[in-house]
Symmetry: C2
Subunit: 214 residues, 2 copies
DNA sequence: TAGATTGTTAATCGATTAACAATC
DNA sequence: TAGATTGTTAATCGATTAACAATC
C-alpha cells in the first residue's frame, strides 16, 4: 500500500476552527452563516473559507450563506467525527494525562478506552475516568478493545520500540506526541504533533518584533 | 506597527526537528553531519534540508556535510533559543500543568517564572517547581518578572478577556492553546496551537485507509 | 583522483487570492 | 429590484523539488 497523502491538508486543518465558530452560531439560534462571517472571526479571507467548505460538499445560498445544521453535519461527516473512535493512550505522564482529560476530544468522537504506563503506582488507578494498565498489557488491551487509534506520549527514547508493539497489536493509526520520527509500515497512519515547531515560530516572531531580525 | 509575518515559516517549523537529530549526532561524537543523513532520519528530501539550513547562515563542506557544533549554535541563535525567555503560564489546569513540566522547553530557553489560576486550592502551591498565584495577580506578576511570553491555557470562554489583561500587563507574545482566535493589537505576537487540527488530519487519513474516502 | 555533498539557479507543484458571472 | 454572497475559473504567490556546476 502506498503512503497515505492527504489532498488539501491545510484546508482540513482549518475545518475544526470553522466547526467551532459554526457550532457557536448554531447555539445562538442562527440558521445560516456566511463565509464572510466565519472569515472575519478567524482573520481569514472569505474566498479561502468558501474554498475550504467546498471540500465537504455543502452548498451555500447566495446572500444568506451556508445552512448551519447541514454544515456542522457535513464537516463532522467529512472528518469522520460523527462516529466514535476507540483509542488507547500509551504513556500516562503529564501530557498524556492532560490529553485524557481534554473535553473537546469527546466532541470529536475520540473515546479513550484504556491507558498504559510503566509506573506501578499508576497501574490499577484511573485518570479522568480512564483505567491505567501495565505497559505489558498494551497488546492485549488494544486487541480487546479493537482500538484503531493509539496516542503516543511516552518518553522519546521509548517511542520507536513502543510504536512497534502498537503496530503488532493492530492499531491503524498513531498520534505521535514524541519528538521521534517513527519508522513504521506505510499502511500505518502517523500524525506527529510537535509542540517545539510552534514555539520555534513564536520565537522567531518575537525576535522580529524586538528588531533582532529583519 | 504592521502585522508580524514570518518568511520561510515551514522551514522554521522544521528547524527543531533538525536540531534534535543534530544534537544526537553531537552526543555520538560526530563533528560533521550531512543533509542527506538528516533527511533520511526525518523522511525528507536532502534538498529541503539544505534549503532550510541555509536560512541559519551556516555553510557546509562538500563531501563532509555541516559542522555539528556550529550548526547547533546557529540554529539555536536563529531561533533565539540561546537566550533565556521568561514566561508565565495562565491557567494551571491539565494541559497547563503538563506544559510546566515539559522538560524539552528548558532546552529551548523557555523559563516559567510563575503560573496563575482561579482555583483557590492551587494557589500558593507549586507545580513542577513553578509557584501558582491567584489570577488577580497576573498583571503584577508579569510586570515583576518582566515576562515577555504568556502561555495561555485557560478555558476557551475566558481566553479573550485573559488575553486583554496579559497585553495590558505588557507581554509581547502569547502562546495560545485555546481554540479562541484572540483579538489583540498587531504588535502582539500570537502563536496558536490547535490540537484539533492535527486530529482532523489523522481522522481524514484514517478514513482514507479504511476506504471510506477516495 | 573520484565521487559524495554542497549552494545556486530554474522548474514544478500546490495553495492562496483575484475576478466575475450566477443567484437568492 | 438591488446587492450581498455564492461557486467557478484564472492568476498569483510561495514552497518544494530538480538540475547541475563547484569543491573538498
Amino acid at each position: 500500500m502506498a503512503k497515505i497523502k492527504i489532498a488539501y491538508a491545510p484546508s482540513v486543518r482549518r475545518l475544526p476552527s470553522y466547526l467551532h465558530i459554526i457550532r457557536q452560531a448554531q447555539r445562538a439560534g442562527d440558521y445560516y452563516i456566511s463565509g464572510t462571517i466565519i472569515a472575519n472571526e478567524l482573520n481569514l479571507e472569505p474566498i479561502q473559507v468558501r474554498k475550504d467548505l467546498a471540500i465537504t460538499g455543502i452548498i451555500g445560498k447566495p446572500k444568506k450563506g451556508y445552512p448551519v445544521e447541514a454544515l456542522v453535519k457535513a464537516i463532522e461527516h467529512y472528518l469522520g467525527w460523527d462516529e466514535i473512535h476507540e483509542a488507547v493512550l500509551v504513556g500516562a505522564g503529564n501530557l498524556g494525562s492532560a490529553l485524557l482529560g481534554y473535553q473537546e476530544f469527546q466532541l470529536h468522537g475520540l473515546h479513550f478506552v484504556a491507558a498504559f504506563d510503566t509506573d506501578p503506582s499508576k497501574i490499577g488507578k484511573q485518570v479522568h475516568g480512564v483505567p491505567i494498565f501495565s505497559m505489558d498489557s498494551v497488546e492485549e488491551g488494544i486487541k480487546t478493545y479493537k482500538a484503531q487509534i493509539a496516542v503516543l506520549t511516552v518518553p522519546s527514547p521509548m517511542a520507536q520500540a513502543t510504536a512497534e508493539i502498537l503496530v503488532r497489536a493492530g492499531v491503524s493509526s498513531i498520534w505521535n506526541f514524541t519528538n521521534t520520527k517513527l519508522k513504521v509500515g506505510e499502511d500505518i497512519v502517523v500524525q506527529r504533533e510537535d509542540l517545539s515547531s510552534g514555539y520555534a515560530l513564536l520565537s522567531v516572531m518575537l525576535q522580529k518584533v524586538k528588531g533582532r531580525l529583519d
